[in-house]
Symmetry: C2
Subunit: 463 residues, 2 copies
C-alpha cells in the first residue's frame, strides 16, 4: 500500500497529479450528480475534499457507507478547487471503503462535543480537530526538545522509573510491589516484610530523575532526561496529573547564570519550532481555544527575559499599587498572583526570579554566601505562571551534609549522591519542567487532562 | 563559564588556538620539568593530553590534587603533539582544580575492574571507558530512533505507564498502589477493596503500549512509542530487566509487507547512524568487547534481509544437517538454536520469518485465510537472534472477538480496543523492540544490566 499524506498534498500537490490517499471521513455532502467527502488522515488539521461523481461504479452503495468516521482509500486526480479556502481537491476515480461507522452509534458526530465528554472516549477523541491539533503540537514539542539538546551535545539519559526512595521529598509516591495484596508477608515484629518483595526493599514510582541525572552529568558533562514521573496526590485540578512527563537537563561546569541562559534559549527554541512546524494547529488554538496563545508565544520568542532576585521581587511587590490576597513577606514563597503580577503587569515578558530563601527550597540547591538564600531560579511567563524551576546544585560536601542534617534526611540512603561531591565534584546546575504544563500553556488548553492521550488521575485509569 | 568540549577540540582544534576545557583526570604522569595529565569530559572516548610545565604557579600543590577522578578547568594553547596517536595536546597556562578524588578511597583507579564490580558503583561507572562508550552509543541510538520516525512523519505518542489491566497477557506485572500495605482495606466479602485505591481499581505497570498506540494510529496514521515497560519476572539472566525501554511503531493502512519493509529500513538506519556518529566507541567495542560487532552492523546495513514463512523455516530446519536440542515441528515455537541456524548458518544475514501458527501468537494478530497462521513476523539477526517482533493486527471485529473468546479474554475490559474495529477500522500493523536488547546487540555487551544506567532486576534497585 502507498501512503501519500494529505498534509503533503495540500501543501505541494499540483493539478493533474494522480494520487492515492487513505483516511477517515469527516463529513459528507450529497448532491444529485456528485458528492463531496472531506477526508482527514491526521497529518494535518485540514481535510482533503474528495469529489465523487455519480458515475463511479457502485456509487450509491459506496456513498451509503461513507459516513463520518468511516475509513477509505481514494485514488484519483488532483484538480484546482473552485471552493473557497482550498487550493486543490481530489476527483475520485476509485474508492475503497475499509470500515464504516454506524451514524446511530458512532459517538463523534459532527456536532460539538464538550471536552469533558471527549475524555470519556479518549480512544476516539484524537480524531477530533482539537485533539488532533493537541497531539500534533505535543509531538512537535517533543521533537523540538530532543533536537535542542542533541544539537548542543547533551546525552538523553534514561533515569529509573522504579526508585527505592523519595529522595527529594517531592510529595506522595505510588508504591510498586509484587506482593499479593491479600497476603502481605510480615516479619517477626509484624512489620511489612519488604525484604520478601521483588526488589528486597520498598519501591516507588519516581518523582524526579534529577539526582540520577547529576550522576550522568558528572561523567558526560551535559545530559537531559525526558521521561514519565508520578505523584500520588489526590488532586482533582485542571493542572495536576498522577502520571506526567518531565524534562530535566543537568550540566556540569555550569553555574546559575549558565542555567538561566540555557533555560531561556530552550523556551525560545521550543516555541519557535512549534510555530514553524504546526502553524495551522497553533492558529486553530488562537481562534478557538485561547486568543492569546500566539501573542504569548511571540512574547517568549522575541523578548529578552527579565532577571531579578527574589529579594528584588519582594521589594517590587511591596511597592505595587495592588492588593494581594496572600501577604508579601521576605521568606514566604511567591504565590501565583505575585508571579503573574511580575510577569504580566510589571515586566510584561518572561521573568526569571533567582536566589530564593533557603527555607522554601530543596536541600540540594547551592547556598549563597549570605547563607540566607540559595541559587535557585524560577521562570515566570505571562499568562502561564511558573513554567521552569531550576538551580545550581550544592557541590560542596560539607555544606550539603549540613543541609541534609538540618532537614532530617537519611544520608546513608543517598551515599552515592554524596560520593559525587567526594570524587571530582564540580559546579553544576539544571532545571526541570513538566511537559504537559508546557503543552497546556502552548495550546491554551484549560485542562491538563486534554493534552496527554490517556490521563491518569484519581479514579481515572481507563484505556 | 565556557564549555569547549574535548571531542570538538580533538577533531578540529588547531595549533596556537587558545582553549579552555573542563573535565576529569583519567591519569597523570609526572616528570621532572613537567607533567602530563589526561583529561576526559565525556564528550568522547579519547582524552585530551594536557602538559603542565613546572613553572606554573603553585605547580606542586596543583599536581598533588590532580589524581584520577579529580575535576579541573584548564586554559592554554593547543600545540601539535609529538606523541603517537594524538594530533594535538594542550599546553596549560592556568589550571583550576574543582574537586579532588582521594586515591586511597576513590574506587575507579587505573586498574581494570570487573563489570560485576562496576554494577555496585553505578554512580561512578559512567566515568569508565566502557560505560562512557555504552551510554554515548545508547544516546546516539535513541536520537537515531526519533530522527528515523520524525523524518517519516510519525508522531511520538506517550502511552500510559500505569495501566488498568494486563491486556496482552505478556507476563507478570508489578502492582501500583497507594494503599498502606500494613493496612489494606477489605470489602464485605473480605476481598481487597480496590475501589478504595487511588485509581479505584487494580493498577499495574504497563508491559506494552501497543494497544494504545493502535488508538493513536487510527487518528494520525503513523505513530510510535518510545518509553519504559516492565516485567515482574523473577529472571536473573543477562538478557532480562524488570524495567526497560521499548519502541513500538504502529501504522494505519499498512499490511505485513509494509511492516517488514519499515522494520528493515529502521534497523539499517539505526545501525548506520550509530556507526556514523560513534565510530571510536564502536571500534572500542569491536576491539575490547566483541570482535564481531562491526561485521554484524555491516551485515545488517548492507544485506537485503531474507524473508521466509514459518512453514518454509520449519521445512528448512527439518532438512538441516544438524542436531537440534529442541524438536522441530510445525506448530512449535522456534527456539534460539533454530533462529541462529537460519540467520547465522543458512542465510548468514538478517532473516524475517512470517506467518506463524495461530496457537503460539497473540490474540491481536491478523488471521490468515488458512485459519492456521497469523500475519506475524520476527526478525532474526546473525549473532543477535530475535531482535524485532511485529504483526499485522486483526482489524475485523468478528474475527477478533472470536479469538478473544477462544483465549478466554475479557472483552468488556477492552471495549475501546473493539471500538477501533467498530468505527472506521483499517488494515494496520506494527512492531516492537526492546531498546536495551538493541543496545546490547549493537555494543556486544554480554549483560543487559551494563547498557542501562541504573538496572532494575530482582533485589536490585540501588541508585
Amino acid at each position: 500500500m502507498t501512503n501519500q499524506r494529505i498534509a503533503a498534498i495540500l501543501r505541494g500537490g499540483e493539478p493533474e497529479e494522480t494520487v492515492t490517499v487513505q483516511g477517515w471521513v469527516r463529513t459528507k455532502r450529497e448532491l444529485k450528480e456528485f458528492a463531496f467527502v472531506e477526508v482527514n488522515d491526521g497529518s494535518a488539521m485540514a481535510n482533503l475534499q474528495v469529489v465523487i461523481n455519480a458515475d463511479l461504479p457502485d456509487f450509491e452503495n459506496v456513498l451509503k457507507q461513507l459516513n463520518t468516521g468511516a475509513s477509505l482509500e481514494v485514488s484519483g486526480v488532483l484538480v484546482a478547487s473552485p471552493a473557497k479556502g482550498q487550493r486543490i481537491e481530489l476527483k475520485a476515480s476509485a474508492v475503497q471503503v475499509y470500515g464504516d461507522a454506524d451514524p446511530q452509534t458512532y459517538p463523534l458526530q459532527k456536532k460539538r462535543h464538550s471536552l469533558e465528554f471527549l475524555r470519556t472516549i479518549a480512544h476516539l477523541r484524537p480524531r477530533t480537530n482539537t485533539h488532533g491539533a493537541v497531539f500534533r503540537v505535543r509531538n512537535a514539542c517533543s521533537a523540538a526538545i530532543h533536537q535542542f539538546f542533541q544539537e548542543r551535545g547533551f546525552l538523553w539519559v534514561h533515569t529509573p522509573i522504579i526508585a527505592a526512595s523519595d529522595c527529594e521529598g517531592a510529595g506522595e509516591m505510588f508504591a510498586v510491589t509484587n506482593f499479593d495484596l491479600k497476603n502481605i508477608p510480615r516479619n517477626d515484629s509484624q512489620e511489612v516484610d519488604y525484604a520478601k518483595d521483588f526488589f528486597g526493599k520498598r519501591a516507588y514510582l519516581t518523582v524526579s530523575g534529577q539526582l540520577e541525572a547529576e550522576i550522568m552529568a558528572m561523567a558526560f558533562g551535559n545530559v537531559y532526561t525526558f521521561g514519565p514521573t508520578f505523584r500520588a496526590e489526590n488532586s482533582n485540578t485542571s493542572r495536576h496529573l498522577a502520571e506526567f512527563w518531565m524534562i530535566e537537563p543537568e550540566m556540569a561546569f555550569c553555574d546559575l547564570q549558565g542555567d538561566m541562559d540555557l533555560a531561556e534559549a530552550f523556551l525560545k527554541y521550543i516555541f519557535k519550532y512549534v510555530l514553524d512546524h504546526c502553524p495551522e494547529d497553533m492558529e486553530f488554538f488562537n481562534e478557538r481555544i485561547d486568543q492569546t496563545v500566539l501573542a504569548t508565544a511571540e512574547n517568549i520568542i522575541n523578548n529578552q527575559f527579565e532577571r531579578i532576585t527574589y529579594t528584588e521581587a519582594i521589594a517590587l511587590l511591596e511597592k505595587a499599587d495592588k492588593k494581594f490576597e496572600f501577604p508579601v513577606n521576605w521568606g514566604l514563597d511567591l504565590q501565583s498572583e505575585h508571579e503573574r503580577y511580575l510577569a504580566e503587569e510589571l515586566f510584561q515578558k518572561p521573568t526569571i526570579v533567582s536566589d530564593y530563601p533557603v527555607g522554601i527550597k530543596a536541600f540540594y540547591m547551592r547556598l549563597n554566601d549570605d547563607e540566607k538564600t540559595v541559587r535557585a531560579m524560577d521562570i515566570l511567563a505571562p499568562k502561564l505562571g511558573e513554567i521552569i524551576g531550576g538551580s545550581q546544585r550544592e557541590e560542596r560536601l560539607d555544606v550539603l551534609q549540613k543541609r541534609m542534617e538540618a532537614q532530617g534526611m537519611n544520608q546513608e540512603e543517598l551515599w552515592w549522591y554524596l560520593d559525587l561531591r567526594r570524587y571530582g565534584t564540580v559546579p553544576h546546575a539544571g532545571f526541570g519542567l513538566g511537559f504537559e504544563r508546557l503543552v497546556q500553556f502552548m495550546t491554551g488548553m484549560g485542562n491538563i487532562r486534554d493534552v496527554i492521550p490517556f490521563p491518569r488521575a484519581p479514579l481515572s485509569i481507563d484505556f
